[in-house]
Homo-oligomer: 217 residues x 2
DNA sequence: AAAGTTAGCGAACAAGTGTACGCTCAATTT
DNA sequence: AAATTGAGCGTACACTTGTTCGCTAACTTT
């Protein structure tokens, strides 16, 4: 049971995936990806494609899965950076922007398929975003002592802002990218500031209510 | 100078634009839009297409322009309605969400081309977004007396949040859509609240500086 | 009324697409 | 050693795509 054959098959499967990734670019999105071109770059005949995937859609979903995995690795990395101390906001935004800069094609795929043509794709990307949000909520509740509801609202807003900024950074030069990162950090701080104010108000209201209640006794 | 001819031309031009809009859907994005199909639905020969547009790209850019304009007019209109009382934030977000629900195809086009395959498209959508932002900045500076820099930061964050929520609403049922709208209103208020707090702090700092300065005299 | 302009058409072309079919031949199993 | 499997290939087919090129016929200008 050497598995020479299975190994070879896995190898060309990877070649197909890599070829598809390579062909994803600013000018050439998933929608305009052709089976024949992918096969050509992978070094096999067009018809052999079907030995590995049933459809181009199946290949596409594989791509989204793989990109999602890469993104989750980013999140893990970002969490470690937070543990080492420093501003959670800045280090998160920095890490995110680094990922976008270093994995343009992948991030483009995620963005495109987020509002893309296939519902399954869209849901897959939405799932990835919700992971990002969930981690942020946990942090806000556990470390920053926010009420869960307020933390959710806040995390949602932050994820929206950061991903949107990431999208803009795709067409930016390094200088613009730095400015964009700085602006994003400040915007996230704006949200955090607003949430802090709301939480403070709520505490005050609760105190008043409690005082009124005591007065009624 | 009856202009019968010019009128007819304008009419088929509109027919082409409408046909393109009709063919845009959740499953069938701009990328997979075909000149021949558009021409067929518009009721003209494929070759006549070129009497009106040089490219499919030119048609697409027209679509982006038209939809952005429509959305902006709607929002301007809703902002004027605050004279009748009510929250400007709520009415703006409501209007926006209504537009998205009623013009799904158009909004999908904007979203898709925002991270799409053509740089020119991306810039066109970015231009639309910057229009939204600019109008919001004006409002924040003129009516709400924010410092320009802070207003810019705030407007940018708001536009990002609202558009991102609009994207999510595309795959939502009416109930989810209502919840999403409510959450978005609260998130925008969070940002506004944060901005107000920052502005207040800056004023305090300025006051202190002024006091120090007076003391030095 | 004559001349000029032009929106729209039909035929044709060169590419490119996905996919069905049967074959080969090396890896694997019996 | 013989039989089976299956990854990959080549041919072929039926489409669809964008675009070029004259042509007609209706509108517009002179």
């Amino acid at each position: 049971m050497t598995g020479i054959r299975a190994k070879q098959k896995e190898k060309t499967r990877r070649a197909l995936i890599d070829a598809a990734m390579n062909q994803l670019s600013a000018e050439h999105g998933y929608a305009s990806l052709s089976l024949r071109e992918v096969a050509r770059e992978a070094g096999i005949a067009p018809t052999s494609f079907y030995r590995h995937f049933q459809n181009m859609e199946e290949l596409g979903l594989t791509l989204v899965d793989e990109s999602g995995l890469a993104l989750r690795q980013l999140l893990r990395q970002s969490r470690q950076q937070i543990a080492r101390g420093g501003s959670i906001i800045r280090s998160s935004v920095d890490t995110f922007m680094q990922f976008v800069a270093g994995n343009t094609a992948i991030f483009r795929l995620l963005l495109q398929e987020r509002s893309g043509t296939s519902r399954e794709f869209r849901l897959a990307v939405a799932r990835e975003l919700s992971h990002f949000k969930a981690e942020l909520v946990d942090y806000l509740v556990d470390e920053q002592k926010y009420h869960r509801q307020l933390a959710e609202l806040q995390a949602d807003a932050i994820v929206r802002i950061v991903f949107s900024a990431g999208a803009d950074s795709l067409d930016s030069n390094p200088q613009e990218r730095e400015d964009l990162t700085e602006a994003t950090v400040q915007q996230v701080r704006l949200v955090a500031r607003g949430a802090a104010a709301v939480q403070h108000d709520q505490a005050a209201v609760a105190q008043v209510k409690q005082a009124n209640h005591r007065a009624e006794d």
